[in-house]
């Protein structure tokens, strides 16, 4: 096993680094500026059964060491994703890359439909987003109550034939109870965190910067919260964890792995620097070399 290889619910990743859903398109958009074949996995933007329009603009706002977004899961629907995005990722997949599709839905039924539709496609895992703060129904509504979360996961798991990642929202009092619930519901992997809900006001215009007022806060600002939650959850569940939230450098990524994550995802960092993902992979590799680490999992959960 090579130094950076990790395994998530039986799926082998050549390294533990992947983009965060929604910040990387479907991967092929990025081929122009980077070598996506270096990525452990590619996670596509959230997809629903039918096309979703998304929210009015402005959809992003900068904050101190972070950003707010309220995209609202604009997407062209599952058929388009299969026809264009998944197809364009096949070369990546054939060369050993792992393809993860992030699922959005307004109702349990919609999640189920998307999962069923994807079962027969050439992808490796699905990620259930029950944590989007930017859509009214679905999204975070499913991710803030343990029993609802458990139910959604259980229902999707019934039809889903691929390993299922469940992505959690940090906007909760007790992340451990949610994590335990989705594990009980059958989640194969837990990813966290999605964004914290936040806002920014333009004092000259006397209005919120985002058209939808509130949005999801991401970037280095939220890293301490993400790291704490990854550690809490790692202490309390058996399934592997994908840690994310504010990772900018290899050192950040290593912090998450030491907190108990098996893999990491990188979102906002790519907006600031298209080379962020590659730099992080290189940096983890060098750090492991310098610290005589045979496989990155040796430091998993060491704190």
């Amino acid at each position: 096993m090579s130094r950076l290889e990790v395994s998530l619910a039986g799926v082998k990743l050549r390294n533990p680094v992947m983009p965060a859903s929604g910040t990387f398109g479907s991967g092929y958009e990025m081929s122009e500026v980077m070598n996506i074949h270096r990525l452990g996995a590619v996670v596509t933007k959230g997809v629903s059964m039918e096309p979703w329009l998304g929210n009015p603009t402005p959809r992003v706002a900068e904050t101190t060491s972070g950003m707010l977004n309220s995209i609202g899961l604009q997407n062209s629907g599952i058929e388009e994703l299969i026809k264009i995005d998944i197809k364009s990722l096949q070369e990546y997949r054939q060369k050993g890359g792992v393809v993860i599709v992030n699922l959005a839905g307004h109702t349990i039924q919609e999640y189920i439909q998307v999962a069923e539709r994807l079962n027969s496609e050439s992808i490796d895992m699905m990620e259930l987003n029950i944590s989007c703060p930017n859509v009214k129904e679905g999204g975070a509504a499913f991710g803030t109550d343990p029993s609802v979360a458990e139910k959604v996961v259980r229902e999707v798991k019934k039809v889903c034939t691929k390993p299922l990642i469940v992505k959690l929202t940090p906007n909760v009092t007790d992340i451990v109870s949610i994590a335990k619930a989705v594990e009980a519901g059958g989640a194969d992997v837990i990813s966290l965190i999605n964004t914290l809900m936040g806002a920014r006001i333009d004092i000259e215009k006397r209005q919120f910067v985002l058209a939808k007022k509130y949005g999801g806060l991401s970037g280095p600002a939220i890293k301490p919260v993400a790291l704490r939650m990854v550690h809490q959850v790692a202490q309390n569940v058996k399934v592997p964890i994908i840690g994310l939230g504010g990772i900018i450098t290899a050192e950040d990524a290593i912090e998450f792995i030491m907190a108990g994550a098996t893999a990491v995802a990188v979102g906002t960092a790519t907006f600031n620097n298209v080379n962020a993902l590659e730099n992080i992979i290189d940096g983890i590799n060098t750090w492991c070399e310098n610290h005589n680490i045979g496989n990155i999992m040796e430091i998993k959960g060491v704190v």
């Binding site: 929604g22 910040t23 990387f24 398109g25 958009e29 990025m30 122009e32 500026v33 933007k45 329009l53 998304g54 009015p56 603009t57 402005p58 959809r59 992003v60 706002a61 900068e62 101190t64 060491s65 972070g66 950003m67 977004n69 995209i71 604009q74 970037g219 280095p220 906002t268 790519t270 907006f271 600031n272 620097n273 298209v274 080379n275």
Partner: protein, 257 residues
């Protein structure tokens, strides 16, 4: 599109808040086309998002940017000195389409004049008239009237306060002229007025749009959308300003009221 460390060739103050930044950035300049933009990144690490800035001129290995200091980023760039380095990504997006119409108007409002400078150089002098709208006389400092006069057959300027040229907006100096093609960039109210004008008179037009960006043109974040008509119907869909635009066909675009 590439990420490149640009070297500052010069940075000149044009007015109290507008400056002209010349950057040595061969990789990006090589591919740059009129109407595209670049992203400029802040040194200050608290500001993570890219600042999209139109390419105002393309001179060999150099790009010229015309920036107005309005916030943290554009104020940071104002302080750049000769030989300083700054990270740039580009060129981004779809620029202007060069046409061979007879009666062409370039319509620029405020700092939206920037992308029209290169365009003026590329269009036939005898077909092209320029209409610029600014706030007040001081802003004459950045509108490159000389250059436009050299490259085009006429330049009219409007100021809001009447301290230079005609008093009023750019719409007031367009008057009743008839055009085959209009290229425009400027504040939203100007583009809205122009949109009505070209729709009514059935004039072809291209508008360069602005929207807040996350990924800065990678096309991956879907933050920068505008409403684009689907076919001839009433329907519209959100398209990305960064990659479908920033220059769009005026007929296609829909502005909110």
């Amino acid at each position: 599109m590439i990420r490149e460390v640009a070297k500052v060739v010069s940075n000149n103050e044009c007015t109290s808040d507008v400056y002209e930044l010349k950057l040595l950035v061969p990789g990006i300049a090589k591919d740059a086309k009129v109407g595209q933009f670049v992203n400029v990144y802040c040194k200050n690490q608290v500001n993570l998002l890219p600042r999209p800035i139109s390419i105002s001129e393309i001179n060999g290995d150099e790009l010229v940017l015309l920036c107005r200091a309005v916030g943290v980023g554009t104020n940071e760039f104002r302080d750049l000195k000769e030989n300083d380095e700054i990270v740039i990504m580009g060129p981004v997006g779809h620029g202007f389409t060069i046409c061979n119409e007879q009666r062409i108007a370039l319509v620029g409002g405020g700092i939206g004049i920037a992308p029209l400078v290169e365009l003026a150089k590329l269009l036939p002098k005898e077909s092209t008239s320029v209409y610029l709208g600014i706030g007040k006389k001081e802003e004459v400092g950045f509108i490159k009237e000389e250059l436009f006069r050299k490259e085009c057959m006429g330049v009219k300027v409007a100021t809001m306060d009447g301290t230079y040229g005609t008093k009023g907006t750019v719409m007031d100096i367009l008057g009743d002229e008839i055009f085959d093609m209009i290229y425009a960039c400027g504040p939203l109210p100007m583009l809205k007025a122009l949109k009505k004008y070209v729709d009514k008179n059935n004039i072809k037009a291209e508008f360069s749009l602005e929207e807040r960006m996350g990924c800065g043109g990678l096309g991956t974040c879907l933050s920068c959308v505008c409403k684009i008509k689907v076919g001839d119907s009433e329907k519209w869909e959100y398209k990305k300003v960064c990659s479908y635009g920033p220059v769009v066909d005026a007929k296609e675009v829909l502005f909110d009221e």
